[in-house]
């Protein structure tokens, strides 16, 4: 793992480790989510939050596990299909459809993860990409996905029979609550003993093995958690926008979540939200120009890697003077490891 990606994660861990900082962070985030629909179009924000949640799940894997998956669209997409299918065909309410979607994505995560973590580095990326492409082909061919048309329409049933999702504001606040819960969950995972072992494995796998940790099982658990959380994002998106279609499982979706994570800052807590805002805004404003969305994304990939590999939040964080700077900087300059 490269020192920059790792240092970035270390720095954020050091910043976020203090309990007081955590409460401030979540209080600030809650406030921001509460007031933002007064300034921006709620549907746009709902989309941003869905992708921010997806990137949070992805960030768990790449930022803290050091595993660069190129196939996360499979989990997002399959969950999207499951939620849409349950709601459309069986009239399943969201409080059941979304957990089903999460479970489906997590199971797929265990299957794909068990194969992919047998190899490391670029091989891991290529295997996840290839297996996700297989899922894509299955979605093209299997009858329940509706092929090219996808699954569309239907009624947005109220959550638990009480909470109305059938308007933009209702669905936005529902989405915000789920996003906060997902972010909190990811935060708890990172700062749990499990999360500490995961970061130890990322930093020095042979040493973690020699200390007696079952590295394979830790990585697989992390992969499944990340897949399940991606499933939460996919299920949420399908429930709120009432559409599940092939772009959700396509490899370009895997690239998109990677771009969101990179732009925001790999291994940072606010990175996914900032990255999702930037990427979705670009898509939103460039949509009339067709292919220029793809071109801009390509340029953004190169620009981020070459100019600021720590992303927006990561670059901002490292310039904060004082308190954590020396330790964070020390982490950034630690020697790189081969893998």
């Amino acid at each position: 793992m490269n020192s920059l990606l790792r240092g970035n994660a270390m720095a954020s861990k050091l910043r976020g480790a203090a309990p007081s900082g955590t409460w401030q962070l979540f209080a600030g985030l809650t406030f921001l989510l509460l007031i933002s629909p007064w300034f921006l179009y709620p549907l746009f924000l709902t989309k941003v939050l869905c992708f921010a949640l997806f990137a949070t799940a992805f960030n768990l894997l790449i930022g803290f596990g050091g595993l660069m998956s190129f196939g996360h669209a499979a989990f997002f997409g399959i969950a999207s299909y499951i939620a849409a299918y349950c709601a459309r065909t069986w009239g399943v309410p969201p409080e059941l459809a979304i957990p089903l979607a999460v479970a489906g994505a997590a199971v797929l995560g265990v299957l794909i993860g068990a194969l992919a973590i047998r190899r490391q580095g670029v091989y891991f990326s290529m295997i996840t990409l290839a297996l996700a492409q297989m899922v894509y082909f299955l979605c093209v061919q299997l009858p329940f996905t509706g092929g090219e048309d996808g699954i569309q329409g239907g009624v947005r049933l109220p959550f638990l029979g009480l909470f109305e999702l059938n308007n933009d504001w209702g669905s936005y606040y529902f989405c915000a609550v789920v996003f906060l819960a997902g972010t909190w969950f990811a935060h708890r995972v990172v700062h749990s003993p499990f999360g500490q072992v995961i970061q130890a494995i990322r930093d020095n796998e042979p040493r973690a093995i020699s200390l007696g940790y079952n590295v394979y099982r830790y990585k697989l658990t992390l992969f499944a958690l990340s897949a399940g959380l991606s499933g939460l994002a996919g299920g949420l998106k399908a429930t709120l926008f009432q559409v599940a279609s092939l772009p959700d499982v396509h490899w370009s979706m895997s690239g998109e979540v990677l771009l969101i994570s990179l732009i925001g800052g790999v291994g940072t807590q606010l990175g996914p939200l900032v990255g999702a805002f930037v990427v979705i805004a670009i898509e939103h404003y460039l949509a009339p120009f067709g292919s220029w969305v793809t071109i801009t994304q390509g340029v953004a990939f190169i620009a981020v890697v070459v100019l600021f590999p720590k992303g927006i939040v990561g670059s901002w964080g490292s310039r904060v003077p004082g308190l954590f700077r020396s330790r964070a900087q020390a982490a950034v300059h630690s020697p790189p490891k081969q893998d």
Binding site: M1, N2, L5, M68, L115, R118, R119, Q120, G121, V122, Y123, S125, M126, I127, L129, A130, L131, Q133, M134, F137, L138, V140, Q141, W251, G255, L258, L262, G290, S291, W292, V293, T294, I295, Q297, G298, V299, A300, F301, I302, V305, V306, P309, P336, D339
Partner: protein
Amino acid sequence: MSELFGVPMTALAGQLMLGIINGAFYAILSLGLAVVFGLLNVINFAHGAQYMLGALVAWALLNSWGISYWWSLLLAPMAVGAIGLVLEKFLIARVAYDHRYGMLVTYGLALIAQGLVRDHFGAAGLPYSVPEALRGGVDLGFVFAPYYRVWVVAASLTLCVLTYLCIEKTPLGANLRAATENGALAECFGINVKLLSTLTYGAAVALAAFAGVLAAPMYSVNPVMGADLIIVVFAVVVIGGMGSLSGAVVAGLGLGIAEGLTKTFYPPASNIVIFIIMAVVLTLRPAGLFGRDKG
């Protein structure tokens, strides 16, 4: 015997031929990926886009200047290879210290290439007709073999063998293998590893473009023709292992044939058969069939 397990022999032979052609493309592309990864430590995600650009340049040469297929076979790889040289020198070499960064940057390049092509030429396929000399075909009794397909098989296999010989038997290839084994040490012996890396990348890109020109008359020229192919090639590389060049070629051909057979006996699985084989290989032999690398 005109049937095998209820499938007519002619259909089987036809699919086998297509399988060999696809396999030859897999072989050329995975060969390029393996050589570049060995020397530069970069997985070239743009390899598929460069294959697509080869086909597109051939199409543009024919339609803008009336330059024939045969000249395109020479000119298109040179043009796309030149772009590759510039990209390697000024961009890819700078991020090659981490193979993840290399993969991300080349992914970005692939997106840019696809986006630009779609913007200028549209998403629909551009037709490219088979050159005059290779129209028609020969009836071999059990199968009708179009001349063009025979030519593609012959040309791509020759190319694989030539590349292999060039790397294994020439002084330049010896330098390349030395630099792959240990770049710093090779530099001590006076080999210009940077220049070698740039040239190797250019050559691999040219190979991909050549395959693209070969593919142009068979498949329609469209922006994502390479992106879909490169993902399959990644699976081929995982199956074959990037440690050995002959392994890449054998795995490529074998998987192409396996795909062709699946298309004959159980068409719905033909898209995913290579990924299933990859899953099985990963379970039984994680390092790949011919893998010497421990990654």
